[in-house]
């Protein structure tokens, strides 16, 4: 009953009027920074952090945490409407979200993403409430060998989404890996492809590339098709007769997708590192594998949107586990939260929850409320977004370019990154024209450097022996799971070809 007491204590703190105000401010800012491509939770947190200097820590953390998970709701909106993921965790949401919008189902897709986000976020908080100490043990068993295996799993999922034209998919992936090599070599400190530029020392960031390849690439493509000359409507069709709410079939199709996505997202989100990105990718692959109609994925399947969406929100809840139970940040955003803990004079670490129960449980309780608030805000705001896409395309398009430029510049205040974005836009247009996979490029850019880092760390530790992957229990387990997935996929394909061959055999005979 301890947990129940703690939660009640937390609710009592979270329900204080002033804290509710902070929470609502946080959710709105989170939504807002999530919607603007480029502006992510880290930017939102950074803006509001100085404001919290003199604040009481509990209210302040509720507000900052709400920015973090709120941005996961907002981030998907541009993925669906403009094919522009605001961060790596929402790349997977473009795969089916954007086709849905193109088919005139933007309304139902947006409602579905809000509901999936809500379910993912809420299941995540429930799991924090009940099982945080258990998952803390999972987080602390992950060293470089385990992370490497996990990233390999993420890359395996990349194979699933490369799709039919695997040659172009592989080339797209390699472009991403190549971009990922720019910057300081983490191990030796020597520079690779920076040409002496200080701005390239930290490597090529994901954001300008993603906004360019997806958002601008899509825009240029629609110019190429002459959409701007066609008056109203645009890349996205909006049909009045298609209803605003998802229909019954959508709900039935996605009920397990949300559940699977939430559980998967939380478990992977607990692990510091690539959490939400790998989680949403895996959720997408799992849905595609579990579906009876995998060939319809990428063409507007509701489950292909709901799974990753539930996963990235559950992952953002999961990321709170190592932060609260170990004082270890799992991402850029939680690192800002950790800095905030220190600023407020709190001592992050395993004793935080015991020493500051009101703070920790106030935060956890506020996350239940925050998710409800975000769901409500989303449902109210969706008609506005739908209105926006009904703007004539020649008005909408320049606005999108402007927002993308400002968003990219705002991240690091770097003009080089703005140029990178425009170049990536051109490349993205060509990729779309010739059937390459921008998603593979972007994900390879995110996962490639992580794979390189963790592999080199592992081999430095083991002094060059690959046996370390088998000697460590957790790493061996992930390896076995991967082998099982590959074998199962191969067996499934084999049995399908056989069934098809058997089915068509009589026809050939007659």
């Amino acid at each position: 009953m301890d947990i129940f007491d703690n939660l009640l204590l937390g609710l009592a703190v979270a329900l204080q009027p002033i804290n509710i105000v902070y929470l609502l401010i946080g959710t709105m800012v989170g939504m807002f920074v999530g919607i603007i491509p480029g502006f992510g939770p880290s930017a939102g947190l950074a803006i509001l952090l100085p404001v919290t200097f003199g604040m009481e820590p509990t209210g302040a953390v509720m507000m900052l945490a709400a920015i973090y998970y709120g941005s996961m709701y907002g981030g998907t909106i541009t993925s669906i409407l403009l094919n522009t993921p605001g961060e790596s965790a929402t790349v997977a949401s473009t795969f089916d979200g954007y086709p849905l919008a193109q088919q005139g189902r933007a309304g139902p897709a947006l409602v579905m993403q809000a509901v999936a986000s809500f379910i993912g976020g809420t299941i995540g908080v429930i799991l924090i409430t009940l099982l945080a100490p258990l998952f803390a043990q999972v987080a602390r068993s992950f060293g470089p060998p385990e992370f490497f295996m996990l990233i390999m799993m993420g890359l395996l999922m990349l194979v699933v989404m490369i799709g039919e034209n695997w040659r172009l998919g592989v080339i797209s992936t390699l472009i991403g890996f190549a971009l990922g090599t720019v910057g300081v070599d983490l191990e030796t400190g020597s520079q690779r492809f920076t040409f002496g530029s200080a701005e390239l020392i930290e490597g090529i960031d994901f954001i300008p590339i993603a906004i360019g390849l997806f958002g601008l690439g899509e825009l240029y493509y629609s110019f190429y098709e002459g959409l701007h000359a066609k008056g109203s409507g645009g890349i996205i069709q909006y049909q009045k007769e298609k209803r605003f709410w998802p229909d019954l079939r959508d709900w039935i199709d996605t009920r397990f997708a949300m559940l699977r996505g939430s559980l998967l997202g939380f478990v992977i989100g607990v692990l510091p590192g690539a959490g939400a990105t790998i989680a949403s990718l895996m959720a997408y692959s799992v849905e595609k594998a579990a579906s009876k109609t995998p060939e319809r994925f990428g063409k507007g399947m509701m489950a292909g949107l709901a799974g990753p969406e539930a996963a990235n929100n559950a992952a953002s809840s999961g990321a709170m586990v190592p932060l609260l139970t170990l004082g270890i940040p799992g991402s850029g955003s939680t690192a800002v939260l950790l800095a905030a803990f220190l600023l407020w004079g709190l001592q992050p670490g395993p004793l935080l929850m015991a020493q500051n129960p009101e703070f920790a449980w106030g935060l956890i309780a506020s996350m239940y409320l925050g998710n409800v608030a975000l769901l409500a805000i989303n449902i109210f705001a969706i008609p506005l977004f739908v209105l926006m896409i009904r703007l004539p395309y020649r008005i909408l398009a320049p606005g999108v370019i402007l927002i993308c430029t400002i968003g990219t510049y705002a991240v690091h205040g770097s003009i080089i990154e703005v140029w990178l974005m425009f170049i990536a836009g051109l490349v993205g247009f060509l990729m779309k024209l010739y059937g390459f996979s921008p998603a593979a490029t972007v994900l390879a850019l995110v996962l490639g450097p992580m794979a390189e880092e963790t592999l080199r760390q592992t081999l430095t530790i083991s002094r060059g022996s690959a046996m370390i992957f088998i000697e460590r229990g957790v790493s061996l387990t992930i390896l076995l799971v991967m082998v099982a997935i590959v074998l199962a996929a191969a067996a499934l394909r084999l049995s399908r070809t056989r069934a098809r061959a058997a089915g068509s055999a009589p026809a050939v005979g007659s």
């Binding site: 952090l49 200080a198 690192a335 530790i461």
Partner: protein
Amino acid sequence: MRRRTLVLSVLALASGLAVGPAFAQSYPNERLNVTIAFGPGGGNDILSRTLVQILEKHKLYPKDIAVTNRAGGSGAVGWGYVFNQKGNPYHISTTSGSFVTTPLQANTPWKPTSFTPVALLATDDLVLLVNGKSGYKDIKDFIEKARTKPPSIGGMGAVNVDFIVPKVLSEKANFKFEYVSFNKMGELNTALLSNSLDAAMGNPAEILGLVASGDMKALAYSGKKTPDSLKGVPTLQEAGYDVGISMPRGLILPPDAPKAAQEWWIATMKKVVATPEWKEYITKNNLTENIIYGDEFNGFLDRTSNGFATVLRASGAIK
């Protein structure tokens, strides 16, 4: 009216320093621009904002103060901006480890010693950590075992004090080790907790909680004096190995700033470091107080920069 009295009192102070009367009487009479070369939440940001708070609370600066975060290129953007304000006494910035390492890595037009030095205020130092369940008893035990079996030691980045401190220690204590470089603090910490690494270099503020819970054990501290929160942990110097490398937390003006402005700031910083807010900042952030002024600070920067360059060149990290 109130502002005018304030200006007068500051002027009285400045002219008391017997500097060029024309400039001294008018300085400072413009808005102060504080450039933070990193984003909010980092060590530089906290130091700068703490300084501004103290200047405002104790009314040490008579005009407005504008604070801007100019992040990018590991500090190259922000400090590059300050560098370009040559001779302008109304810009200040704070320093950190990157102030020394970034110019070694990239083609920056400036070096740490290019600026007008005001003061070194404190140093950021590191803790040598091992897993709480490991068999290492203390730093002596660690070094003895390291001589027979080279340990793996993790830290943040390759061109960083995290690598240089154990490197210098290993040379003085005569052992070998494998350095494992990390990009994110979280991954470094879990690598130690998951028994992947034998040891890690950690930032005191961020690992205190894990040390208090017994998950990690602190063997030694690289600064001049161990912070109270890590009482009982010896410094490397006390253990017999004087490493003498620290990350400078100090204050600079643009290059060629007027002598009077530099002296005004030295006098003002002497007041700042006497305030209770400053003492609180030092304890809360687990810094080592280490105050030196003016040209002596430049000497410190020069020695640190040369020390870094020697170690990094030997390891091949820089040319």
